[in-house]
Each structure stands twice: as C-alpha cells, then as structure tokens.
Amino acid sequence: MIAEAGLAALWLAAALSALQLALAFGLGGEQGRSLPTIRSVALAQGLLTLLAFGALIAVFLNSDMSVLLVAENSHSEKPWLYKFAGAWGNHEGSMLLWVAVLALSGAVVALFEHRLDERTLGATLGAQAALALGFFAFLLFASNPFERLDPAPLDGRGLNPLLQDPGLAFHPPTLYLGYVGLSVAFSLAVGGLVRGNFGPAIARAMRPWVLAAWVLLTLGITAGSYWAYYELGWGGWWFWDPVENASLMPWLAATALLHSVNVLAARGGLRAWTMMLALIAFSMSMVGTFLVRSGILTSVHSFAVDPTRGTFILALLAIYIGGALTLFAFRIAHVKEGSPFEVVSREGGLVANNLILSVILGVVFVGTLYPLLAEALSGEKLSVGPPYFDSVASPMALVLAVLMMIAPQLKWRRDAAPILPRVAPGLLVAVAVLIASVILAPNIGMLPRFGLAIGAGLLPASLLPLFGRSLKRTPLAIWGMAIAHLGVAVAILGMASDSAFTEERLAAARPGETISIGPWLVEFRNVMPVAGPNWTALEAELRASKGSGALVLNPQSRFFPSPPTTTNEAAIDTSWNGQLYAVLGERDEQGRWQLRLWWKPFVTLIWLGGILIALGGALALVGRMVRERRQRIRGEEAFL
C-alpha cells in the first residue's frame, strides 16, 4: 500500500510540474495573475515529492521485501540506521532523493522569494519545473523505486558492507542538497535571461542558494574524503576518482559563482559572466549525476544499472545544458555592461579568482571525461589518475592561494595606494617557511614544499581583512570570508604535510614483535575473533607507545554474510600532531600477519580546513540573510 501511495504521489507531482511549466510560460493567461497559482502548484509539488520519499523510507524501515528495491538492497537483520540510509544507498532511491530536493527547492523559492519582480520569478519557477519534469520522467519511466516483486523473497540481498557506515547516512544527502541547491541558481539565471533581468536583484536572490549549496558541497566532499580515508583502508584521502571529481567540479564552479555573484550584487558588474557561471554550476551537478548514475564508471558509487538509463540521463543533460547555453547565446546581446573597474581592484582580483577556478575546472573536466571520450572515439581504454591531476590542477590551486593573500586587501573599483605593505605579512611568512623547509627538509617534493610555504603564509593573510576593524561591528560576511580563507590555508597545510612527511611501514609480523614508525613503537600483541550485529571479524591488538603514553589500536578484518564480503576496518588514533593508522591484512602460511601502518603528521588539518571553509560560508549566509531582513524592515518602515 505504502509503495503504491508513494508511486501515486510521484505521478501527481510530475503532472503538477508540467502544469507549473505551462503556467509559467504564459499558457495560463496574464503573467502577473498566474503567479499565485504557480506558487501553490510549486508547494504542492514539493510536498508530494517529500511524501514519495517518505514512503520509500517507510518500505525500507518495514523491510517490505515485496518491493524490488528493498529486496535487492536491504536485509531484515540490518541495524535500523542502515535500513534508513539504505533507502538512498542505491540508484533509484538516490534519484528520488535528488528529485525530492529539486522539487522542495522550487517550493521554497515559490514561498519565500520576494526580491524579484513577478515576471522574473514566474520564469524562474517555470525553469525549475522544467528541470523537475525531466527527472520525474526519468524516475517514472526508467528508475521506478516502488516496483513490486512477485513472489516476494523471504529476505533481501543486503547492502554493500562498505556502505554500512554511519557516514553514509549523511554523506549522500548532504552532497545532493548541494548539487540540487545549485538548480535554483540555474533557474534564476534562466529566468533572468528569459525576462531580460540581469541586475543586482537576481544576484541577491541567487546568493543565499549559492552559499548554502556551496557550504553543503564543501561538507559533503570533506565527509566523503574522510570516509574514503578510514573506510577504504588505503591511507589516502583523495584519489581523483571520477566520482570524486564529479563532486569537485560543481564545487569549483560554485566557488567561482559565489565570488562573482558578490560583484554583481554589490557593484553591478560581471553580469553575463555570473549568469554563465550559474548555468555551468548546475550543469556540472548534472554531469556529475550522469557520471555516477549512468553506470559508465565503476567505483563504490556506481550501482550496476542498465544502459537505457545512461542514455536517458544523457538526453536530459543535452536538453537542459544545450537549451540553457542556446538561451544564453541569444540573450547575451541584451546584457548591458556593468560598471567599469581598474585592473588593480577588488573586482580585478575576483576576475583573476574566477579565471583560475575556471582553468582548474577545465583541466579536471577534461581529465575526468577524456577516458570516456577516447573510448567512444577510438575504442582505446585508458584511465587518468593522480599523476595528471597532481601536475596540472594542484599547482593552479597554489597560484589561487597566493592570489587569496592579496585580493581581499584590495579596494573596490580602483586601488591606487601601494599594495605591498598590506600583503607583506603573508608573503614574509611564506618566504620564511620556504627557506626553513629547504634547510630542514631538503628531500620533500616541490608541490608539498610550496604547499607548506603558501599555506603558512595564507594563515595570517586570511585574517588580515579583520585587522584594524572593530571586531564587534565587522559584518558577519567579512568574518565568513576570513574564516573560509583560513580554512583553505589549514587544508593546504594538512595536504602538504601529509604528502611531505607521511611514514609508511608494511610488515609481516608475529604476535609479540615490535615495529617502529614515526615517533611510535607499535607492539603487535595478538589477533582475536570478535562479532558485531551483522558481521564477524578478526581483530588485532596493537599497543602503540611513544615517550609519554601508550594506546591500543584494534584494526579488524570483517566478514559480512549478506552479501558475503570481507572488508578491512582501519584503526586510527588521532593526536594533536597527526594520526597513527593501522590496517590488518592476511595471515601467511608461517603464522605471520600482514600489518600496514602509517604515521601521518597533521593530516587531520585537511578535514579541519574543510569544516572551517564550510563554517565561513555558513557565517556569510547568516550574515547576508540577517542584513537583508533588517534592510527590508527598515525599508517598510520608511515606506510607512
């Protein structure tokens, strides 16, 4: 019953999105008069989709094995959290989550957006409905999550054990909220282009969505990176896997957009460019979805799917991205020039930021899609991995970090005063660290060496915009910028430290033997069997000690009966100056156990940096919203 109710809700919501699209583009009479109707339709559509998603969660929680999706991906003896999270740990469920967020975002715009004129808002909601309609069709015709299975099996096949992790409950929804939050920026850009509205009002309406989506993408990417780090047991935190790139590309575009949208909102400049970025950002989200959901990639993220789905998503991509770019090309001539600025100015710095981010996006895009293209064109199979991305994308990121030391110090429009004194603190620290690293650590690579220097220089430089201000009266948005930039510095330091100073030991050890790594002496005590709720494991006891204290690490090799799989559970100890990371391998014929140990100095800074970046974005978002609210109230008072 619940499954049928969910399916019915989906069909209704799809019909409403078609109605919304028709109303928005004038099929329902005069524009202004249909807006209240469009608003209620958008709200109803959002609620119905939410209902469908709730129905899916319900059938998973009830372990209703007569639903095909549940039977294939769940198991009645799973802990409830994984039944719950299992609802979106598969293709159909994750696409339903995607559509639900898309429809709900539309509903929120319909309810709360008051900055825009009615015509632009109507066109924006029409664009949002057009996006939703395509993905509803994809769900209903190619990925029905509520399909029944007759006869129902006694129990399900279970969820991939790698995905049975608390991180999974939050990682995909966070990323999806981010991906799909960008759809509103896309729809606003389409609405603005259709109605010839490119002013600061569009940018102000766009900004909270871009900031919110960007914060969630940042958190999702950070969480995903940590998940891969501790769950896959390879000791790495970023693999340049196409699926990781699929989340990085919208993030890069959103980062550029969130900087340029400020220029448009504050100075009325970079109009066409901002519209373009808004279109590209969500296009990258859709490309990411295509890469992950079409099944053309093999990784943890791609669930086995049939090729019709890939074709379907590719067609949607072509329609939406092609349509948006065509619209852009036709309307671009109507965009008036913004107010001019000089090269050395805040705008100039933000243009440089946007250009560098676009280049990084470009090389990541080419590197990610090249293997698909090469195979389609010449049948040649190849993969593009870390050697490519490390040598083309990482140096560009460091150039961007150098720009971050300078640009926030510049004034809007023109800056004639000498700049060097204002940026000296950061540059001096960077040069000092560079010299120190050459003397103290002559053998590390170029990239980590410059990473350490630039990261260290950016620490003070990122806080300089707060210097000389009354901290109490500094707008939250400025605090947000400083903290986000500080987060970038912290993350760069963590990445550089990890690649420069990580130590690794690979050993075959008998119980009682001792291995030394970094500052630690690790004693291998024994291996014992242990049991969990739906797994059994062999667990090693390692006693790690250094000068002052000692601690125990318990890496496991886990066996899951459904589906039958073995996974390695790494044991990680975090101290203030780094992480000790241990993985248990197999036992050999002579009774020795394979052990892999890493000592990773300051590696935690990577994720701490990610959290700081997201925190900065959140502060800016709150600051902007509070300020706009105050201005609106003041405006209304003045009007009275």
């Binding site: 090269v343 470009g362 593009v384 490519y388 073995t566 390695n568 002579q590 892999r596």
Partner: protein, 141 residues
C-alpha cells in the same frame, strides 16, 4: 588608466577565452604522458606496451600462480587473458576479494624484463563487481 565599459567587457571576454584555451592546452599537455592505458597480457606480448609508462593491466589471476615472498608482504602472480601471460609483482596488502581465478586490474609499470611492477591492485567492492574492461574481455572470448 581609464577604460570604457565596452572595452572592458571585450578585455574580459578575451581573458575568459584565453583562460579556457589555456586550460585545454594545459590538460592536453598533462594527458600526453600521464594517462594510463589499459593493456592486456596479449598487448604486452605483442610489444604494444612501452616499459616505464603508467598503465593498467587487466586479466585473470592464473590458478596456482599466486606466491608470497619470504618477507611476507610481497606477492607474485601471473595475469592471463587466455592467450598470453604477464608476471606481476606487488608489495602491499591485497584487496579482500583478490584471489586466484578471479579478475584483477593492476596499476603500475612494466619493467624492462617484462615484469609488471604493480603499485596498486584495484579493489573489487563486491562479488558482482567486474571492471568494465574485464567484462568486455570476457564477453569477447
């Protein structure tokens, strides 16, 4: 330096175009010797794989070929595609479902003696997983 808005826009458009062309050139330069091609033991036997270039070797782990060195952490095995065979050496903990008779993708380089030195063995995430390259090879046979 005073600029007219119209000129400024032209400069920005040119800059944006230059950045995009730069990105593509940079990417092409990067791809030239950093893309890892997928090879099979037959390709290596036919001399199609240059030594000391990053590549991925795919095939089946030959039954009875898996051996462990006395150090306990180095494994040697033979990868076969039914026609030819390539010896592989790997130092590290092998993925959980790596075993004789199953599909494998090894990342690494071919040394001048024809030994494939793997620095990574791709993990199979579950029993249903098969690298697409492998699936094609198996289907072709």
């Amino acid at each position: 330096m005073k600029v007219k808005p119209k000129h400024q826009r032209l400069v920005l458009v040119v800059l944006a175009a230059a950045a995009m062309i730069g990105a593509v050139l940079l990417a092409m330069w990067g791809l030239q010797d950093r893309a890892a091609y997928f090879v099979t033991p037959s390709d290596i036997a036919a001399g199609k794989a240059a030594p000391d270039k990053a590549m991925r070797l795919g095939g089946m782990v030959e039954k009875g070929s898996l051996k462990r060195d006395p150090d306990g952490v180095t494994v040697r095995f033979t990868v076969s595609d039914g026609k030819s065979e390539t010896p592989v050496v790997f130092r590290g903990i092998t993925p959980d479902l790596f075993k004789e008779g199953s599909g494998v993708v090894a990342e690494g380089r071919l040394d001048p003696n024809g030994l494939f030195v793997a620095d990574n063995i791709l993990a199979k995430h579950d029993e249903r997983y098969m690298p697409p390259q492998m699936a094609n090879e198996v289907a072709a046979r």
